[in-house]
């Protein structure tokens, strides 16, 4: 059985590549059994953090602890972690069964134990009947499942996943997403999952760690991140496509009034704002809807059918482009009014767009 743990702690971990800092001091603590997503745009340091955890990259500062044991000085083969790579990284000359058995073979387990555990892992990923094929004979989704089986068969203390779904097509990605969460629930492992796709992170994770420029920007549950990103760059990344620089009025508690193209909107302060200072206002297109009485007036530009509604863009009188939704198709040039609940209008300090 794998040794278990209560808490994984990253303490001020740093990683430089020459003059470039990929990680600038990251702190994080993970409880046993959690599913953590590291989310951020490419180059934010999320993959570097994962490679440091795996031991594939040495740290240049800080330390990593499993309860009382310091692990960042261990060689990768001594950490006992499982990893699922973006491009699967299966051994192309070994059968599915040999691939899955690799970790146990290296541990010099008895043949009978290896057989039993490999069978169980193949059952979990539903690939028992493909076990004698070579990886090259499998589809992308099946290869990904072999990679998962290879990672979980050693009953690792930690499962690391590096954008495991990014090489799959849209339909398969949805299916494998459910599959990964199902396996996580089934084996009760602790999982660290790297992705740049906010939908994936929202749907899979217990907690999301948003990273940017080698630093952690926000840690929270999917619901917290979706409804209340703490910074405007996190908001941008979480799908708040309307980001408008403007001046704020006087705040009363967390309520404030902002002016966009002459229209006054009630809003919620997320980052402290001085009265009259420059702010960034963030609104999701899905929250900004056509409403005859709405305060904002725009001229429609495009209108795209999405099934139940239309995703539209339009320009305000001062030229700001806004994205919004409409229940009916709008003609280009059509003037409409928009409204948004004050709870869904978030205000951040600083006027520059991220």
């Amino acid at each position: 059985m794998a040794r278990t743990f209560e808490q994984l702690r990253l303490e001020e971990i740093k990683r430089d590549f020459g003059a470039m800092s990929a990680l600038k001091g990251v702190n994080l603590s993970v409880r046993r059994g959690e599913f953590i997503a590291l989310l951020g745009p490419s180059g934010c340091g999320k993959s570097t953090a994962l490679n440091c955890l795996a031991g594939l990259l040495p740290l240049t500062g800080g330390s990593i602890w499993l309860d009382g044991q310091r692990i960042d000085t261990l060689r990768p083969e001594d950490r006992g972690f499982g990893m699922v790579f973006q491009n699967y990284a299966l051994f192309p000359h070994m059968s599915v069964r040999q691939n899955v058995a690799f970790g146990l073979t290296m541990q010099k387990r008895a043949r009978a134990e290896i057989e039993t555990r490999v069978d169980k892992a193949l059952d979990i990923v539903r690939l028992r009947d493909q076990s004698h094929k070579l990886p090259g004979q499998l589809s992308g989704g099946q290869q990904q499942r072999v990679a998962i089986a290879r990672a979980i068969v050693i009953e690792p203390r930690l499962v690391l996943m590096d954008e495991p779904l990014s090489n799959l097509d849209a339909k398969l990605r949805l299916e494998m997403r459910s599959e990964i969460r199902r396996i996580h629930n089934l084996i009760g492992a602790t999982t660290i999952y790297v992705t740049h796709d906010q939908e994936e992170a929202l749907s899979l994770a217990d907690r999301i760690v948003v990273m940017r420029d080698g630093l952690v920007r926000q840690v929270g549950t999917p619901e917290e991140l979706f409804a209340r990103p703490l910074h405007s760059d996190v908001a941008d990344f979480m799908g708040y496509r309307n980001l408008v620089s403007t001046h704020a009025g006087r705040a009363a508690g967390d309520e404030v009034t902002v002016t966009i193209a002459g229209a006054r909107l009630g809003a919620r302060v997320v980052e402290p704002v001085g009265a009259g200072g420059m702010v960034t206002v963030a609104i999701r297109p899905d929250d900004l809807a056509v409403s005859p009485e709405g305060p904002l007036s725009v001229t429609t530009d495009t209108s795209e059918y999405r099934g139940h509604d239309f995703y539209c863009s339009g320009a305000t009188a001062d030229g700001t482009t806004l994205y919004f939704t409409s229940p009916r198709r709008l003609a280009p040039g059509e003037a409409v009014r928009l409204a948004c609940s004050p709870d869904r209008v978030l205000v951040y300090a600083g006027g520059a767009r991220p």
């Binding site: 795996a54 031991g55 594939l56 060689r75 990768p76 083969e77 950490r79 972690f81 499982g82 990893m83 790579f85 491009n87 990284a89 299966l90 051994f91 192309p92 000359h93 690799f102 970790g103 290296m106 541990q107 290879r150 050693i154």
Partner: protein, 280 residues
């Protein structure tokens, strides 16, 4: 003969050009094959002058060539030289290629250029000074001298052939092996060598063919008891004394058959186009 063309039907000028091209290529290939066929027929002919086929066939030229040039000893020497060259260049070349493929360091491109030199510079250029050095070190004139001289082009050849094979192995596969518990030894035995096997095989078979065919270096460094087949063939052609040309043709055929046999084996493992070049 042609598969379907995607861009509509062909114009007459294209058709003429195409026919001309295939005719030239066909003549070229046919001429080359006929030439070899003539040698082959001649080597089995009792006599052959001005007729379509010789009046009678015999294997006596093979027997006489075999005796006259002591081909049994020559073949043994050839095998020993070639075997030693193949093994040694594999043992030095593959690890060196791994080091060059997986590490980046300043001057890597320069090292690659240096390795290319003995391959591209014709052996006749450096064969004479190399033989001089080896004679002074008392290493020439025997089989070791021949082997050492032949290693000069073959080791760089193995290195350069292996580099793309090694670069083709995803480093993530090595990382995965590490992560799932393989140390350096296990990594090589279980992952790298099986994955590189086709490349190693191809490189060494090509070294084998090249070494059988390497005339200049062997010629300069071989003594009377360390001649290989290609040198013996040369002496057969140019040594003083009158010989039936059938005897020489017989030796040519023995030599060509030896080379072709190995070449065909090598081609099972390597695509011909890939042996010659590829764009950047």
């Amino acid at each position: 003969m042609f598969a379907e063309r995607a861009l509509g039907t062909r114009t007459p000028s294209e058709l003429i050009w195409s026919v001309a091209l295939w005719t030239v290529m066909g003549l070229f290939v046919a001429n080359f094959m006929l030439m070899i066929l003539a040698v082959l027929v001649n080597s089995f002919a009792t006599q052959w002058f001005g007729t379509w086929l010789p009046p009678a066939f015999t294997t006596k030229w093979y027997v006489s060539a075999w005796r006259e040039f002591q081909l049994d000893q020559v073949l043994v020497v050839t095998m020993m030289v070639v075997g030693a060259v193949v093994v040694i260049s594999g043992l030095i070349g593959v690890p060196a290629a791994y080091a060059l493929a997986r590490r980046n360091f300043p001057g890597k491109r320069f090292v690659l250029l240096l390795l290319l030199l003995p391959l591209m510079v014709p052996p006749i250029t450096y064969g004479i000074p190399l033989a001089t050095v080896l004679y002074e070190a008392r290493l020439a004139g025997n089989i070791w001298g021949v082997i050492l001289a032949n290693l000069v082009p073959t080791v760089p050849f193995v290195v350069l052939v292996m580099i793309p094979f090694i670069e083709q192995i995803d480093p993530r596969i090595e990382q995965a092996a590490r992560l799932f518990g393989a140390g350096t030894g296990q990594l090589f035995v279980r992952v790298l060598v099986p994955l590189l096997a086709p490349g190693i095989l191809a490189a060494l078979l090509l070294v084998l063919v090249r070494t059988i065919a390497m005339f200049e270096l062997t010629f300069f460094t071989a003594g009377p008891s360390s001649q290989t087949l290609v040198v013996a063939l040369y002496y057969a052609v140019y040594a003083p004394g009158v010989r039936a040309n059938q005897s020489i043709d017989a030796m040519s055929i023995i030599y060509m058959a030896t080379t072709l046999l190995w070449l065909m084996i090598a081609l099972r493992f390597v695509n011909p186009v890939q042996l010659v070049g590829r764009p950047r």
